[in-house]
Symmetry: C2
Subunit: 923 residues, 2 copies
């Protein structure tokens, strides 16, 4: 049998697949990605416009022969064209029923840099005239024709595109119009003529009228494009072999503007907003795709298609049209289901009907909300369309919190969105959910207004740790500056409150307590509503409703009353059955620990202790401890703090009964806690018997050039052991008390910022000594571990030595990213990171998506050498990356035991972990 170089879409795929399998190849190897897809869809009964594919092997033959077509190829293509003509009942060059085709490249891997599409191939003067008769739309035809001449001249023959564009420009000037759309039919015809002149002038030959000639030139251009410089560079970068070759796809063009039995449309196979199983979309009769996009005519709902009468006057014609459209609607429904099964996902479909015949032009997985995604996933499993694994992959992990946060009333928000007087600005939605309330401009005001029973939205240039008190009271936050990792965003996600950040349209005057946006002035007390999901800012008090799922969790609704609760519960069961990574939460308080628990956290991965010292009942004592002049004085103040800390720890350990709670000892530099206001300084001076000047002098002395790299973390533990000893005492007194009360506390003490094994040894000795004392005193045994953060580059390369005295590692990837890059996050995100991303020096912000190449590589060294030294080492992550799906995949790949993230992100992490296991199974 002669070598077969051309395959029709409608040929049987199965025997070919078998034959290729025997050569260790698959369909894509021979037909390219696009070609194999078209064949398989055609085989599956999807009405894609027919056509054929010239194999990748042919491309290689072409190169092997010094860029000569192999003998017989042209004949074989002619046969395929003839088959295509007879299959579709159209003929190349026939004015009464012309066959036009598209020609596209298509290699095994999608490859930008190769030849783009040539559309409308087969067009010439005669065909154009015929098509005008058929469509009654000369402007459309001439427009299609002039596009073809330009594409062919540019893409196939290599004439500078701008020379063709000049033709259109010239005609526009002649007609005195500026928009392409305003050029007349006659004008477009003239563009074709001008372009053909350009073609002849540039190439020294007339534009080819013969379709076969056009086709063969296009095939050659596709083959040539395989080795153009951009394509070669792309393959080098992406390590794609250079000997794969490209296939050529030739496919019939279809037109929706061939009369009222033609049309075009788009549709989702299910609701993208709530997941309901029902076609959603619209269609426009007697129109091409561009017309839908242009929005000149109002399309019909897809529901109306089955009863559409073509707008005909004549009853008979109406009936005929109804018959056509009801058949098309019926077929579309079947095809839509088939596409869902074929792609195992909800589909967003572009289709065209040409003279009553349905063609699928394009289909892709449909974008959807989190709510829709979960419902669709579960439904598709129930319908037998997908396996649970596949269903888990359908849902974007980041969208899960959308199911759990309050939302605006759908009708109200839709109305607001369409009213530019109400939708006044769009910032970055940095923490999902909807909130409405009165505007306040300071944390103090937030507290004051909420004390009066008001709901408030806190609006600031940017928030800072000083605003925490007010942020806890507000419904949500709106800031002028900052990005997805700014203080407001981070706190928003931690607290599960909506945050809109970086809303630069606001002119904010915090002193005058008002902001302006365009000409609108919003004053303190005015209502606004914000969506932390979309970044929208509305004027007025839009109604919101809490998530049904959360209402069920808190007993405000019965599980069986909430359909979404059912969907969510089943979905998360599959998630948990699949994942290998544990998921813990970062939580500092009993209430946030509880939020984490109901969201599925399996423990606390990071309980920071510094926030605890800011409480009004203890900050002064803590400040006195800092200014102590001797170890004894320091120990005395520490002793006063002990009962507070013990309460803090008891609360969290009680909520997390039976689950591990990693408590990090004091981390930030002490100067962060010092009093600044005169009254506060005076109070500390009074309590410690010093002068205010002494206190201020000490503040200056504690000042640091680079606090991030300063006197903090375990460095405090080494220099002022009294503080860590007090914290350890509080932890173990709390744990022992709970144990006595029949609970099962599992504290794990974490030492921050270790880079030298001796730092851990030194501080660990103190912790164990205190623990054993407390255990001995109270007479109850408590299980506990002592471990360390890995957040300093040196810790990664001496991890083996550290692991000899650590029972666990927890990667602090926020600080690790800062130190590995030598980026101060505070400075970088405001100053040069945006430029880095816009100039392509970085692809993403490494504080959001873990940098695998640098930070990740150091983590891998630490994990490998840590586990070699201590096979029982527990290894997790507690940086912000623990809530980011791409980063979680990396954590899964490198074999971490768990990730820890903010409570609202616990469901995200669970799903991302399951997806990672599906895509990259590990034991």
């Amino acid at each position: 049998m002669a070598l077969k170089r051309v395959y029709r879409f409608w040929e049987q795929a199965d025997p070919l697949k078998k034959k290729l399998a025997a050569q260790n190849r698959d369909l894509k190897d021979l037909l390219g990605g696009k070609g194999s897809g078209l064949m398989l869809m055609t085989n599956a009964g999807i009405p894609v416009p027919p056509g054929f594919t010239i194999t990748t092997d042919t491309c290689n033959e072409y190169y092997a022969a010094g860029k000569q077509f192999p003998e017989g190829l042209e004949e074989e293509i002619k046969e395929a064209v003839a088959d295509l003509e007879s299959r579709v009942g159209k003929t190349f060059g026939d004015p009464d029923n012309p066959l036009l085709v598209s020609v596209r490249s298509g290699s095994k891997f999608s490859m930008p840099g190769m030849m783009d599409t040539v559309l409308n191939l087969g067009m010439n003067d005669e065909v154009a005239k015929g098509m005008i008769r058929l469509t009654g739309n000369p402007r459309f035809v001439w427009d299609a024709y002039r596009r073809f001449v330009m594409m062919f001249g540019d893409v196939v023959m290599g004439v500078d595109r701008s020379k063709f564009e000049a033709c259109l420009a010239q005609v526009k000037e002649e007609e005195g119009v500026t928009a392409d759309l305003d050029v007349s039919a006659e004008g477009m015809k003239r563009v074709v003529e001008l372009e053909k002149e350009v073609y002849e002038r540039e190439l020294g030959e007339a534009f080819p009228a013969a379709a076969q000639e056009q086709l063969m030139a296009s095939v050659r251009a596709v083959f040539d494009s395989w080795n153009n410089p951009r394509a070669i560079t792309y393959r080098n970068i992406n390590k794609i072999p250079h000997n794969l070759g490209t296939a050529v796809n030739v496919q019939m063009m279809v037109f929706g503007n061939m009369g009222n039995d033609s049309g075009t449309g788009v549709a989702f196979t299910r609701s993208p907003s709530n997941g309901e199983k029902k076609l959603f979309g619209e269609f426009l009769p007697n129109a091409q795709g561009e017309d839908v996009v242009a929005g000149i005519r109002t399309p019909y709902s897809i529901d109306e298609m089955s009863t559409f009468d073509g707008g005909a006057q004549d009853e008979a014609e109406k009936a005929a049209m109804r018959e056509v459209w009801s058949r098309v609607a019926e077929e579309f429904k079947v095809v839509a289901e088939r596409l869902e099964r074929y792609f195992e996902d909800v589909q967003d479909i572009e289709f065209t009907v040409e003279r009553g015949k349905l063609w699928i032009l394009q289909t892709r997985n449909g974008k959807r909300t989190g709510v829709a995604a979960v419902r669709i996933a579960v439904d598709m499993v129930d319908e037998g369309i997908v396996t649970p694994d596949r269903a888990l992959l359908q849902v974007e992990a980041e969208t899960l919190p959308h199911l759990l946060v309050p939302q605006f009333d759908p009708a109200a928000v839709e109305a607001a969105r369409n009213n530019p007087e109400v939708l006044v600005a769009i910032g970055t939605g940095a923490s999902p959910g909807a909130a409405a309330g009165r505007v306040v401009f300071s944390a103090e005001d937030a507290i004051e207004w909420t004390n009066r029973g008001e709901r408030v939205i806190l609006v600031r240039h940017e928030t800072s740790p000083d605003d925490i008190g007010g942020m806890e009271r507000a419904q949500g936050f709106l800031t002028v500056f900052g990005g997805a990792t700014s203080h407001a965003a981070v706190v928003g996600r931690q607290l599960g409150k909506p945050a809109v950040v970086g809303c630069g349209a606001l002119r904010l005057d915090e002193e005058a307590k008002q902001f302006t946006v365009d000409s609108k002035v919003v004053k303190e007390g005015d209502y606004i509503s914000i969506s932390g999901s979309t970044g929208e800012v509305f004027l007025g008090d839009l109604p919101t409703a809490p998530s049904e799922i959360v209402r069920v969790w808190y007993g405000q609704m019965k599980p069986e009353e909430s359909m979404m609760y059912g969907y969510y519960s089943r979905f998360m069961e599959w998630v948990d059955a699949r994942r290998k990574l544990g998921v813990r939460a970062n939580a500092d308080r009993p209430d946030t620990a509880n939020d984490a628990l109901i969201r599925g956290a399996e423990g606390v991965g990071l309980c920071r202790t510094e926030h605890m010292f800011f409480g009004e009942d203890r900050i002064r004592t803590f400040q006195c401890m800092i200014v102590a002049e001797s170890a004894e004085e320091r120990a005395k103040w520490a002793e006063e703090l002990l009962p507070h800390q013990r309460n803090d720890f008891e609360g969290i350990l009680r909520v997390m009964d039976g689950l591990p709670v990693i408590i990090r000892l004091l981390d930030p530099p002490l100067h962060e806690f010092l009093p600044r206001e005169d009254a506060d300084v005076a109070e500390v001076a009074r309590m410690t018997g010093r002068t205010p000047d002494d206190i201020r002098a000490l503040s200056r002395q504690l000042h640091e050039m680079n606090p991030m790299l300063g006197h903090r973390g375990c460095r405090l533990g080494v220099t002022f052991p009294e503080i860590y000893r007090m914290q350890a005492k509080a932890i173990f007194q709390a744990a022992c008390a709970l144990k006595k009360a029949g609970k099962n506390p599992k504290p794990e003490v974490m030492i921050p910022l270790v880079g030298i094994p001796e730092e851990l040894e030194y501080t660990k000795r103190d912790v164990i000594e205190v623990a054993e004392e407390v255990i001995k005193e109270t007479g109850v045994e408590v299980e506990y571990m002592v471990g360390t953060m890995i957040e300093v580059p040196r810790a990664c390369v001496v991890a083996g030595d550290i692991a000899r005295s650590a029972e666990f590692f927890s990667f602090g990837t926020n600080d690790l990213t800062q130190t590995v890059f030598a980026f101060s996050r505070d400075d970088a995100e405001g100053k040069f990171l945006p430029t880095y991303i816009s100039k392509g020096v970085l692809q993403v912000d490494p504080f959001i998506v873990l940098d695998r190449r640098g930070v990740g590589r150091l983590m891998e060294i630490a994990i490998k050498e840590g586990r070699e030294a201590n096979p029982n080492l527990e290894v997790g992550i507690c940086g912000q990356h623990g809530g980011d799906p791409q980063s979680i995949e990396f954590c899964h790949l490198v074999g971490l035991d768990y990730v820890s993230c903010d409570p609202p992100l616990v469901p995200v992490a669970r799903l991302a972990a399951a997806q990672a296991q599906i895509n990259h199974p590990r034991d």
Copy 2:
């Protein structure tokens, strides 16, 4: 032949060595380090007190037998004791001629944690009485006895040492004295009695009087100490096998207080201050070592020994004594030479003469000044004592700058040193050399006084970059705060000026322009003199003289007139012939580049460009550039800076003609350059057409939380390309002009702070574009390279990718140490590093000695992967570590091409590189 377990020092070592070699062992394996040394010295004719060694194998037998002595051991020891008795003519337990011995452990490797020494073993009541007769010094004898009881009771029998110490305390109270020295002979005798009571009470048996019994118990104690917990821990940490076992060394005690034909002394074999070949030292007749230390009697010079007459009255006795001592002196001279040959180095010897017989108690390599070291090394080669390699190892590299800096007049400084009214304080000598001048307290005053022709010493709490102008004028610096890496120290070493830092005894009042030390007040204009070598601070104007070598270099003296110049030159020739590492210098100006060149630098490894912008003629323009609001405005100001920068570069390239000069583009954050004073702000506002408030607002905006990790280095190059482009233009215009003038400039452009390969690619593109433009314009070809600092942890782990666009790497280990440890140097050295070192968390300051485990490991990754990606990659270091010998050894080990250091340290680096090659040869 039965297994031999005991070896006498005087047995032939050679046959034993051969026998052991056949078993792949050496003498140390069998006899331990100490035992083999004693045997070899005895074999070499050194009169060490005789004795014997029990083998390490015996220790292993002891453990193998469940801590039982092997059969026959005691007999063999008795035989050895008998041999020893007959060899030395003394007998265990003989009151008229008692043999006393010391017992020491000694394994293959020196091992703290094992048994210390037991002295005076063999003592009992009868022996004590005999010794009193012999020495006429009952207090000495009873003191020796009570020490023996305590050591034996504590070290051998395990009784708590404090119980014995209490006996002495009790007697002191009884006698009403506080110092041990004031206890009477009777009192010491009573202490012995009390201690024996303690011994009996604690152990239930009497203190053993029999020497053999004492000895066997001590041998057992040494064996047991091999496996005490401290020793096991030490071996674990240092990876010493546990099966080596320890030897036991038994050695005769000798006494220098047996009459006037006895004595004790210490001597250097050559002058430790200038290296002259002549014995230097002192002796004290009829005395023990303690007496010399106690300083109660004035010792004689070693020169007087040969004519010493024992202070006898009787002429016959005088003659007899002279005969004894002249013989001893003659023997000592011979032994001293023998010791030098044996240890191949100058020796610092402790000796004792017992009844006219010379014994060498201890000898070690003598400490010496740099001047002495170089002369001794060269002389020893000439005398055929050592090879040049060995001579190079004798000299501590750090001491070389001492040959090149001014020194005080020796007599004047000696007198000053002995006068507490003149030597008023000692700080840390942080940059060697001597300087004297009038005290000033500010950089401005330094400039003013030197303008009047005065020499000044700048005294500050600590210096900062603002003081540079004044520091360049001052003779030296004295600071109250700071350590070896403080600003004053670093600048001192860079400028080759003496610096005394951390001189906490000074109470400094900068405003009142005076300091107080104790009760002395020193005011502005008073003379002081400082030694940056010793840290000494003297009142008054001590005379100083420049180094002869430097005078020769600068043509102020003929080479043949300076003996030291000859020594130094020959020595450095050997150095350069041996080393593999290149040595370059960090220099920013033509004069410092020249200093480096005459000190042997082979190029500039780091030319910082930021200091250049502080010049009065350009700082304002630079500030205008910083506050520019557009790229155009920035480029305009940059263009004004261009001629200045071109001059800067031309100067350095001219000095370094034909040698590589690595120029680092701007590195520090821009806010460091901004104007602070109102007048300066106003001026910048005027020049740029802004308001002062604008300028201040911009300053605030540029402020950073962690400037070390902020908007600096290549981040400036990416965000403000105009600055780097201007610098590149200046470099290549300078280079092309020189080339045209017949010179051979070799500029290498270095991009700082790269952590992302794309940062280098982006900035390199700009540099090359500018370079090619300039080369094209000027029409001369200039060789150049573009490379990068490696100073960010991420750069180390992505070094392979960076090396694809870098022609060289230069490790910036200052910043790399900061980021690898997450230590801000400014903050760490003042706050927690001292505590870390005092608590043993760190052994050394990693900013001084390169951290091999952490920083070094990352460097190794970078070197390996960088060279794999780019085999022509040139790799060096330009951090402070490039001048530290231990760090230079590491640089040699990991295969760097060169180190770069401050000019005064160039000789240090050359020698350290040669030593590294001798100890660890590489290709």
